[in-house]
């Protein structure tokens, strides 16, 4: 048992850091550092740089064109990227649909889709939730009916993240209404330019446009775009969710968030002294930092198990729950640190990056929108209540 990194791991860490410093565009780094909104192009420039290096799909095995990182390398890569203020990798292609395609797809599908995912030349989005199907995902009703060598898709998807920037969407659709709801679902890849698709923005509580409703009106999709077998899409759906669990804890981002919170608490005044010297507030940050450490070591334990060829144990299931709660707590304490200067709402500065002067320090106007927006983390990816249901059933046997 050893917490220290081996010389090879240290060499790798130095290589990653040098790469990020040399290839992360300065303006993107600046936006991430100051919590500003990122556009499609910001993400794409960074992801394509990673793609050229072969690191965008850093979780993939070598045989599918990934770098085959060890768990320790994965940990180092994620942490160094966060420390250097790289934007988070958009997961829909590299972490979601890519692994589904290389696990369940045909050779032709692999040839067609994987190179563009590895290079980040195509932007993917996700079509899972529906207006009537949230936590009860299997109740989904968007229908795909066979007609010759096509499916005709009708219905709508919601909470579709960044679909207004997407080239392709992967969807769960109903291909059979008989039997158990899980048994009639299929996994379809759909080109967003196909006639009959409408994307309608949903404006969130922070005023931002991040998610959409997507409507399908007699959309013609080639049968060749079906991944896995017809009516067996639920297997793909579950695989995707399980694959997603590890990274969703967002430990490196939370470590960065706690440091940013400390900086703000040093800058803010409280009775003539830095807020961080207020014992009660300092203890709230201390408590948060301890929570992050516990989460980090839980993740490290999982990675060590995996490095020895083991499967992640029950501890992995709690990562999403605690990780999401911690992300929320960071935004809550940041807003608390800012006090009344969290009130000014400056949509131009916030969303369009205009030259409007901030009211108070620049971090102040971001605090409340972040807080409002981050309430989503305990809801998405399967709400925390759903996660507890899964652990209760799968791990505890209740």
């Amino acid at each position: 048992m050893d917490l220290a990194f081996t010389p090879e791991e240290q060499k790798f860490a130095a290589e990653v850091r040098a790469f990020v410093k040399a290839n992360l565009p300065a303006d993107v780094r600046d936006k991430v550092k100051h919590g500003k909104h990122l556009g499609r192009d910001d993400y794409m420039r960074w992801q394509q740089a990673l793609g050229k290096k072969g690191w965008l799909v850093y979780t993939w095995p070598v045989k599918h064109g990934g770098p085959g990182f060890t768990p320790a390398q994965r940990y180092l890569f994620e942490n160094i990227c966060a420390e250097e203020y790289a934007p988070g990798i958009i997961p829909f292609g590299s972490k979601m649909v890519g692994p589904v395609i290389y696990t369940f797809g045909t050779e032709e599908q692999k040839q067609t889709y994987l190179p563009a995912i590895r290079a980040s030349t195509v932007w993917w989005c996700q079509g899972y939730s529906e207006p009537g199907s949230g936590s009860d995902l299997a109740s989904l009703r968007t229908k795909a009916e066979k007609e010759g060598d096509h499916y005709i898709v009708n219905g709508s998807k919601t909470w579709n993240t960044m679909g207004h920037w997407a080239d392709w969407i992967f969807c769960l659709v109903r291909t059979d209404s008989k039997g158990k709801p899980q048994e009639g679902i299929s996994f379809l890849l759909i080109d967003m330019k196909t006639p009959g698709i409408t994307v309608k923005p949903i404006i969130m509580a922070d005023g931002g446009h991040e998610v959409n409703e997507v409507f399908f009106d007699n959309v013609k999709v080639p049968i060749a775009n079906l991944v896995g077998k017809e009516n067996e899409g639920w297997t793909c759906a579950k695989f995707l969710l399980a694959n997603e669990r590890l990274g969703i804890a967002a430990v490196p981002q939370s470590k960065r968030g706690v440091e940013a919170l400390k900086d703000i608490a040093r800058a803010e005044q409280d009775n003539g002294k830095p807020l961080i010297e207020n014992q009660a507030f300092a203890e709230k940050i201390a408590d948060l930092e301890i929570q992050v450490t516990a989460l980090e070591f839980t993740e490290l334990r999982v990675l060590s198990t995996m490095a020895h060829g083991g499967q992640p144990g029950p501890e992995v299931s709690g990562l999403k729950i605690r990780g999401s709660e911690i992300q929320q707590r960071i935004t809550e304490l940041t807003m608390e640190a800012v006090g009344e200067y969290a009130a000014p709402y400056l949509p131009g500065l916030l969303w369009q990056g205009t030259n409007e002067a901030p009211v108070g320090p620049e971090y102040a106007h971001l605090a409340a929108p972040r807080y409002f927006n981050t309430r989503k983390t305990t809801i998405y990816g399967g709400s925390n209540e759903i996660q507890k249901g899964i652990i209760s059933k799968m791990v505890l046997g209740l």
């Binding site: 070591f297 334990r301 507890k388 209760s392 209740l398």
Partner: protein, 380 residues
């Protein structure tokens, strides 16, 4: 970086686990708790024979060099069985301080027989007014010829009645609560001038109030340097905290397993109560809490011998905060989900709950360590 156990470490874990399974059934433990010493000499002899008393110490000190990870492995299994043998005061605290600060002669006279199972120790630091301040010591040691004379009182001294030697934190200089001017003395437990009031604790351990009335010791009784005892005791207590965290992790595993088993079998309203979502989610929270406790214990065990004192103190305090929080959550939840049975003496649940509760109080509770961590890491 690799956080999995080596083959040797796994063997140790299996050995201690087997001991607990065979010797520490709930009924056996009751008998051990009620025995004269509150622990069994035959168990202690077995620990010595298996080399468990040598685990944390370096090979040059006669140990087997497993370090804090070794202590963690042993204490976690001990926690599962609520083991009563005084491993913490003797090996972790007493042995730890002698290994850290003792002279070659002291190591030979004290540590070597301890490793052989022939000596036990107790640490007397707390006084009525000390609360969690290790430096709030007023028991005085004054020069007497070549040696020293100790007078004053110590409280809640675990294992004092069984200890061959009591390691006493005394004031040799400085004012109240000053860290400088504290000295550690190794005092024969049967020395003239010592009177004890012995009692059991809430969690079936043994402790004592001790009065020292002009207890004479030689110059060679000083452990470490005169006036320089504080850092020695501070580090020893930090190591003890991490060991307690490991024990608490074992307690949480056991109490969670008992509760899970209970809610699967106990029926109300015609179904097992574990079918109710409100209990399912609470049970999940118990398991998540235990996982976090295990992670923080591991973190602290890996960092408790760091060269940087701030790193060591932060590690111990961070882990103790987590253990306080998780232990209380698992303990209270277990009792609640067991219903009335949870508050009876009859089931093991209340016994784990009591131990977890006392662990939180030992060497500083959750709030104390949150403040300490905050002062070290945030406000600094």
């Amino acid at each position: 970086m690799d956080l999995s156990l080596s083959d040797e470490q796994k063997q140790l874990q299996e050995g201690v686990e087997r001991f607990v399974r065979e010797k520490y059934t709930f009924e056996n433990r009751k008998k051990i708790a009620a025995s004269e010493r509150g622990w069994l000499p035959e168990n202690w002899a077995q620990f010595a024979e298996l080399g468990w008393l040598a685990i944390p110490f370096s090979e040059e000190d006669g140990g087997i060099g497993f370090g804090p990870i070794g202590t963690m492995i042993v204490m976690e299994q001990f926690g599962k069985g609520l083991v009563l043998e005084p491993f913490l005061p003797t090996v972790v605290l007493g042995g730890g301080m002698i290994a850290a600060a003792g002279t070659a002669a002291q190591k030979e006279a004290l540590l070597a027989p301890m490793i052989e199972g022939k000596k036990q120790f107790a640490l007397a630091w707390l006084e009525r007014q000390s609360r969690y301040n290790l430096a709030d010591v007023s028991l005085k040691a004054t020069k007497e010829g070549n040696g020293w004379s100790l007078s004053g009182q110590k409280g809640v001294v675990y294992n004092a009645a069984s200890a061959d030697d009591i390691i006493v934190l005394a004031r040799t200089a400085g004012s109240a609560r000053e860290e400088k001017g504290l000295t550690l003395f190794v005092v024969d437990g049967k020395a003239k001038g010592i009177t004890r009031r012995d009692y059991p604790t809430q969690d079936a351990q043994r402790a004592s109030e001790i009065t020292f009335d002009k207890v004479s010791v030689g110059a060679d009784a000083v452990l470490g340097t005169v006036d320089g005892g504080f850092p020695v005791v501070e580090d020893a207590v930090d190591r003890a905290i991490v060991a307690l965290c490991a024990e608490a992790t074992g307690c949480m595993d056991a109490i969670n397993a008992a509760t899970l088993d209970y809610i699967k079998t106990r029926k109300q309203f015609g179904v097992a109560i574990g079918k109710f979502q409100v209990l399912q989610h609470r049970m999940v929270d118990c398991f998540t809490n235990a996982q976090e406790a295990r992670s923080m214990t591991l973190m602290a065990s890996l960092k408790i011998e760091d060269k940087d004192a701030i790193v060591r103190h932060k590690a111990a305090s961070g882990a103790k905060v987590q253990i306080g929080k998780s232990g209380k959550f698992c303990g209270q939840s277990a009792v609640q989900m067991h219903g009335g049975m949870g508050v009876t003496d009859e089931l093991s649940v209340s016994h784990y709950f009591k131990r977890l509760t006392m662990i939180d109080l030992m060497f500083g509770n959750q709030q104390h360590h949150l403040t300490r961590y905050s002062n070290l890491a945030i406000a600094a």
